[in-house]
């Protein structure tokens, strides 16, 4: 590293972002060099071009973009840095693709502490390295104080779909099984517990995680998976409604079968929320032929991110596209789209 190019090093412990860090001049170059490239280091990023150039194998590629504006920036189990890596990797991976590369755009607010920015970038670098999906190009802009909220991060990911994989939200068919990879609502409750006006003590941590490894194991066992989607904003309920609408089917869930941690249930009870509408950042919904369901459950249980995987219901014919549920109490009800918002800025 050529960290002496700019004379005195950045004072990360005490300095803050100022407008010159976004001006395109030496201050910006130094910020990129001593923070971004230093921590996210990889061969493509180091080339320091305005773009990254790489070879790809033939086949179908996927591309996805995700903006991250979460408040607070640091929360139990993660931060905006790791979330921005996991979120986009997951969006790419839900097509069955192997995620290859990420790009990252930062919008920084004047006055944001460099120490916090470094913490975020280190977390991002660790998440990218653990997932083996490097950040290979990026962009930095600075907005005046009061025009942002610390830092916003937009990441784009690309990936390659293995031959023979046809996963899409419009492929659910009557008779299919509906699987979730684990407990619902952890991320949303972890965020709530750390909100300024709503602090409460809980052992719950965000489930933020990159799911492409779990998905690789799943499609190896069952290449014919129909749908995959991560139930982020709006939670399980809203995501299932999206899939039902896209595929023109209904769904019938068994409330008893849906995994929810007791601490999440309790927090939701206290706040008047329904865990089925609370966000997740490290869980997936899988819809597959009923005959494949047990094979998938067995494979998922062997992966650290799928130990609680469960079959929670089935796809049914329904011209109205209702997602219905047999309640644990013994009655039935609709599980509707989320109306309005349960919580602002959770991802």
């Amino acid at each position: 590293m050529t960290t002496r190019r700019f004379g005195q090093r950045l004072n990360i412990r005490n300095d803050r972002i100022n407008m010159s860090h976004g001006s395109g001049g030496r201050a910006m170059a130094q910020l990129i060099d001593e923070l971004f490239v230093k921590h996210l280091d990889n061969e493509l990023l180091r080339q320091a071009n305005d773009q990254a150039c790489f070879e790809v194998a033939g086949g179908r590629m996927v591309m996805s973009v995700d903006g991250h504006v979460i408040s607070p920036l640091f929360f139990p189990g993660g931060d905006i840095g790791s979330l921005s890596v996991h979120g986009t990797i997951n969006d790419v991976a839900m097509s069955g693709a192997t995620p290859l590369y990420l790009s990252a755009g930062f919008i920084l607010e004047e006055g944001f502490p460099l120490a916090d920015l470094e913490r975020i970038i280190i977390s991002m670098a660790r998440a990218a390295s653990d997932a083996n999906v490097p950040v290979i190009t990026g962009d930095t802009k600075v907005v005046e104080k009061g025009k942002g909220d610390g830092v916003f991060i937009t990441t784009t990911g690309i990936g390659l779909v293995p031959p023979g994989i046809e996963i899409s939200g419009d492929r659910a068919q009557a008779g299919d099984a509906i699987i979730v990879s684990g407990s619902m609502g952890d991320h949303g409750v972890a965020i709530m517990s750390s909100r300024e006006n709503l602090e409460f003590e809980t052992s719950i941590e965000s489930d933020s995680a990159a799911l492409h490894g779990l998905i690789a194991d799943m499609i190896e066992a069952v290449p014919g998976i129909h749908c995959l989607r991560d139930p982020t904003r709006g939670g399980l309920a809203t995501t299932l409604n999206e899939l039902a609408q896209q595929s023109g089917v209904g769904m019938l869930l068994q409330e008893n079968a849906i995994p929810v941690k007791p601490a999440v249930s309790a927090a939701c009870e206290l706040l008047g929320l329904d865990p089925l509408y609370v966000a997740n950042e490290g869980k997936l919904i899988c819809i597959c032929k009923a005959a494949d369901a047990q094979t998938l459950i067995d494979v998922m249980h062997k992966h650290p991110l799928g130990t609680q995987a469960a079959i929670i219901g089935e796809v049914v014919e329904d011209e109205h596209g209702f997602v219905q549920m047999q309640t644990a109490f013994g009655g039935s009800r609709i599980v509707d789209w989320l109306a309005g918002e349960q919580l602002p800025r959770i991802c």
């Binding site: 006006n197 709503l198 209904g250 019938l252 007791p262 249930s265 309790a266 009870e269 008047g272 049914v316 014919e317 329904d318 011209e319 109205h320 209702f322 219905q324 047999q326 309640t327 644990a328 109490f329 013994g330 009655g331 039935s332 009800r333 609709i334 509707d336 109306a339 309005g340």
Partner: protein, 387 residues
């Protein structure tokens, strides 16, 4: 969750369901009004209706604080934020309620008004402490349950010498509303609405006790069973109401005895009596002007009364044309009787207040129960619990 799941047990629900089926006389109907939106929500969320015989019907009452507040009072809150430039603190449910001129607190917030969602009066007090150069108004709504915290907030503001905090009082009283429903022409004269008995409020009764219901159980000869908010509470209370009706009794019984006593929470009552006094009359959406049905801040605490401080006057305002919220709140109509229901009025774009709060009958019916209109739906059949 300990002490919660026990009240949601499917096995106990089955047993109770069988007992209700046995007790209910097939030669008659049982129209039971749940006063509280909390009960309405529980009934829909857990699918309690599926476990009931067809002749036992839930009639949804007006006990949803957001739903019964007339548009004029929301207009007042909007004026406070826009014209007096106050920081208006409100519970989240109020944000989306439509006011006059297609406004809502959420919309004026987007236009720059300082409207803040809070979870308790304590949040509002803290905001007042943090913003000594701004006026902070807490938009106080709710029945007897939310009134004691409002009283505490005023006393705390006084003790702290907070001269920038005031409370816009819209607290209303349950017994007056129940009496008003029983006096309404639909129930009393025309007989178009049949209400055979009442599920008494749970949280409200924890404050006021069961004694206040004794008068109208006797006067109007309707049984009242104070019921908890869990689904098994609702079923057990239904069974108790059915038994009373079968035996020709009309008493106040207390199913929610783990929380509610006959005299209620006397400390809370004393606190409320110290800070608030009865209004001569208050406008309710659906019920109209109901005498002695609401509270206002007492003269001794007038410094903390937003109505006085900002000279607030409430204009009578008509509901949206075609909106049946008023009749639905009286139990005279069902959500599906409204032409706007599910067409132009949905939770995403509510026209009436009953579609806003999760305790509102329309929102609960739309979000949890509208599949019941479709015979071909996969669970259009009765749920399997009742064999």
């Amino acid at each position: 969750m300990k002490y919660i799941d026990e009240f949601r047990s499917q096995d106990l629900a089955k047993t109770l369901s069988q007992a209700i089926h046995q007790a209910a006389d097939t030669d008659r109907d049982y129209n039971l009004m749940e006063f509280c939106g909390g009960h309405t929500h529980a009934i829909f969320r857990y699918g309690v209706q599926d476990l009931m015989p067809d002749n036992v019907r839930f009639v949804h009452g007006p006990g949803c604080p957001v739903c019964v507040l007339p548009i004029g009072r929301i207009d007042n809150a909007i004026q406070l934020a826009l014209e007096h430039d106050v920081i208006l603190c409100t519970y989240g449910d109020m944000l989306r309620v439509p006011a006059s001129g297609r406004k809502s607190l959420l919309k004026i917030k987007a236009e720059g008004a300082d409207v803040r969602m809070v979870y308790s009066t304590q949040d509002a007090l803290r905001i007042a402490q943090q913003n000594p150069d701004r006026q902070v108004v807490f938009f106080a709504i709710g029945f007897e349950t939310t009134t004691p915290p409002s009283a505490v907030a005023i006393k705390q503001a006084q003790a702290l010498g907070l001269d920038n905090f005031s409370l816009f009082c819209n607290h209303v009283l349950t017994p007056a509303a129940i009496q008003n429903i029983l006096e309404s022409p639909e129930v009393r004269d025309i007989g178009s609405v049949s209400i055979d008995g009442f599920f008494g409020p749970s949280h409200v009764s924890s404050v006021i006790g069961s004694r206040p219901y004794e008068f109208f159980a006797e006067e109007y000869q309707r049984p009242v069973v104070i019921a908890g908010f869990e689904p098994l509470d609702v079923m057990q209370s239904a069974l108790m109401l059915i038994r009373q009706l079968n035996e020709g009794r009309h008493e106040v019984e207390n199913e929610y005895s783990r929380v509610v006593s006959r005299d209620g929470n006397q400390k809370a009552q004393t606190l409320v009596a110290e800070v608030f006094e009865l209004r001569r009359s208050f406008e309710w959406r659906g019920l109209g002007s109901v005498p002695y049905s609401a509270l206002k801040v007492k003269k001794a605490f007038v410094d903390f009364d937003a109505e006085t401080r900002f000279d607030i006057h409430t204009e009578p305002t008509a509901d949206v044309k075609g909106c049946e919220c008023p009749a639905i709140l009286r139990g005279a109509k069902r959500p599906s009787d409204c032409k706007l229901f599910g067409t132009v009025c949905t939770p995403e774009n509510p026209m009436g207040s009953c579609m806003v709060s999760s305790e509102g009958a329309c929102a609960a019916y739309w979000s949890y129960g509208r599949f019941r209109d479709n015979a071909q739906s996969p669970t259009g059949k009765k749920a399997g619990a009742v064999a």
